[in-house]
Every structure is written in C-alpha cells, then in structure tokens.
C-alpha cells in the first residue's frame, strides 16, 4: 500500500500546475496527515515513521512534561502535612498544650469538633514583641480565623492550613482568635507563642472566639535575692 503525506511545510501539490510535472489530475485538498497501517516493524524504524506517529510521540513528551510540571507546582504550593504520631503528639492531644512540639505540627487527620476556651498565659520574656504562629492542626478543610490584638484586627480573615501563618504581637495584652468560618467538624487551630515556646491546641465553633490573656511575670526584689 502506497501512502502519501502532505504537509504545508513540504511540497504543496496544490500549487503545482497540472501537466508540468504530471499529466494526472490533482484534486484540491486541505492539509492532511494520513494514518498509517498498523505495522510494528515500521515503528522500529525512525526514519520511516509517519508524520502522525511522530506527532503522537512528540505530543506524549509534551503532555508528560506538562504533567510533571503540574506535580512540581502542586507540591510547591501544597501546605498539607502528615500527622505526627509521636508520644509527645499523643500527650498534646490530651492536654492541648505542648512545649516540645514545633510550630506547624499536625495532630489529627480530621477535625473532631473540639471546643476549647480562653487562656491566661503568664511568661517571663523580656521582649516587647514576639511572634505568633497560627495553623490548622487537623485536616485542611477550609476553616477561617481572624486574629485581633487588644481589639484591633491584624488583618482580614484567612484560611488556616497546616503551614503556620505568623504575626508579630506584643508580649503583653489580649490576643483574640475569632472563628470566621467552619469548613466542617469545628474550627481546629493551634497557636504557638515564641516568647514561651508553647503551643496551644484549641478549637471553637463558627463565630466563636478564644481569648489569650498574655501577662508578664514580674519578679519582686525578694524573688531575686
């Protein structure tokens, strides 16, 4: 079986005047690629591969490259983490406080409708300001919170993920975390204060809030003697 392939970049038979090179009638056609017969032996010979086969192979590389790039982009943008199953994590799940776990630790695979409460945090930090880390310690299910310091908002409500968001806050005063939206299973979040290196695993319902009263422990002259 004889095959012909036409390509706009190659010979354009439409422009060839009839009778110059051939006395055969050449019909006017659009640009076409002809599908070859299935012949595995032909596939092994690169030079004899049809334009269609070459295009399929080229397309395969392009699509594969797009897939790899997509996965890289997805991995770079992903904030999800694996659940910490250590003893410290198990202990933190019971006490809801940890001084050993790092900021951004994930304790649960799914939200468990935990409603915590307000806290008074007394610390002995000399610094005027500290860093506050806020993250979702369970599933990234679309919980939104807003952080206030002494009644002033630190920004718009934002979605909490397993990767912490940081704020610079004073070491003394009131920090309020307001639950703006529950993505399902209650709003589970954790806050880590750099001033006392402690994480508080807390929770609330939608439109609920938790207040953290930050106080500096003042030492009297008797204490120092």
């Amino acid at each position: 079986m004889k095959e012909i392939r036409e390509d706009s970049k190659r010979q354009d038979v439409r422009n060839t005047p009839q009778g110059v090179e051939s006395n055969q009638y050449t019909p006017l056609e659009d640009e076409r690629e002809y599908i070859p017969e299935i012949n595995p032996q032909r596939d092994n010979v690169k030079s004899k591969q049809s334009a269609f086969t070459k295009r399929i192979k080229k397309g395969a590389w392009v699509v594969f490259a797009v897939g790899i790039i997509s996965m890289i982009v997805y991995s770079m943008g992903s904030t999800s983490k694996s659940v910490d199953t250590s003893e410290e994590a198990a202990s933190a799940l019971e006490t809801h406080i940890s001084t050993s776990l790092a900021a951004g630790t994930k304790l649960l695979a799914s939200d468990e409708n935990y409603v915590g409460g307000d806290m008074t945090i007394t610390h002995d930090s000399d610094n005027v300001e500290t860093t506050l880390y806020v993250w979702d310690y369970a599933a990234e299910d679309g919980d939104y919170v807003q952080v206030f310091v002494n009644g002033t908002s630190l920004g718009d409500p934002f979605m909490i993920t397993n990767t912490p968001v940081t704020f610079t806050i004073p070491t003394e005063g009131e920090v309020e975390v307001l639950g703006t939206r529950d993505g399902g299973g209650g709003i589970t979040y954790a806050v880590y204060y750099e001033m006392n290196h402690t994480t508080y695993f807390n929770g609330m319902d939608e439109n609920g809030s938790n207040l953290y009263d930050l106080r500096v422990k003042r030492y009297s002259s008797k204490d120092t003697l």
Binding site: I35, I38, P40, R55
Partner: protein, 150 residues
Amino acid sequence: MKNKIANVFAFLWFFGVLIWTLLFMFIVILGILFGDIVVMLKSGFSSTTIGFVFLFLSGLVFGITGWVPAFRRCYYKLPWLYPLSMIMTMHLLVLSIAEAILAKGFQVISASRHIATIIIMILQVIICRIVMCIYLKKNPMVLHKYDRVE
C-alpha cells in the same frame, strides 16, 4: 504471534487504563468547573484543588500511550482519540491554573483581593485560550483516515 501479543496489550491498555483516564478527565473537568470554581465564586471561600494532581496522572497515561508502540495503536484505529486526548489535556490545564489562582486568592476574605483574583483568573483563561487557538491553528489536528491513497 508478536503482533497478536501486542494487540492483546493494546486492548488491555485501552480498555483498562486509557478509556477510564479519558472518562475521569471529562468528569474532573466538569468537577473543577462546577464543583470548585463556581462554588468558590458563589461562597467566597477557598477549597482544595484537584486539577494539577489529575493533570499529572493523565500526563503519565497519555505519555506512556504515545511512547509504547503497542499502546498507541488505539490512535491509529480511532483517529479522533489523539485530538480528543490532547484537547482535553489543554482544557484541564487551563482550568487547573484557573482553579489554583482562585483557591489561592480566596484564602483571605477581602473584597479587593477577591476582585483582583477573579480578574486575574479571567485574564488567564482568555490568554490560555488564545494561545491554544494559535497553537491549533499552526498545528491543526486534521487527521483523515478515509483518505488513504492506494
């Protein structure tokens, strides 16, 4: 004999993997459009994205289909399959980028940020569709099996 074995593998790959990938791709494209993008626009809240993950899986399947001679036989038997696979991949890529932009922008509840996100997403879709049109104009998928010349 070798040809028959290759046909068996081609049959298994087509009915076991490729056809399901195309089917899921169709569902995912609809899911991203109506389940993610429209829902995010209506609610104003971000959601998890699935487009890039499925783009990776489909890229892997279509890549293997194109590389392995036995697997790409389906493209010769069904000439519409290759253009369909490529154009659906392009659709999925455009929608996945739009979904990712929207999910990122809607992570913060702010009217100005939401408006900016929606404008960027619309521009991205328009630009990607124009690029897609230019590419397909330069490389048209005109594949006629019935025009084989003896």
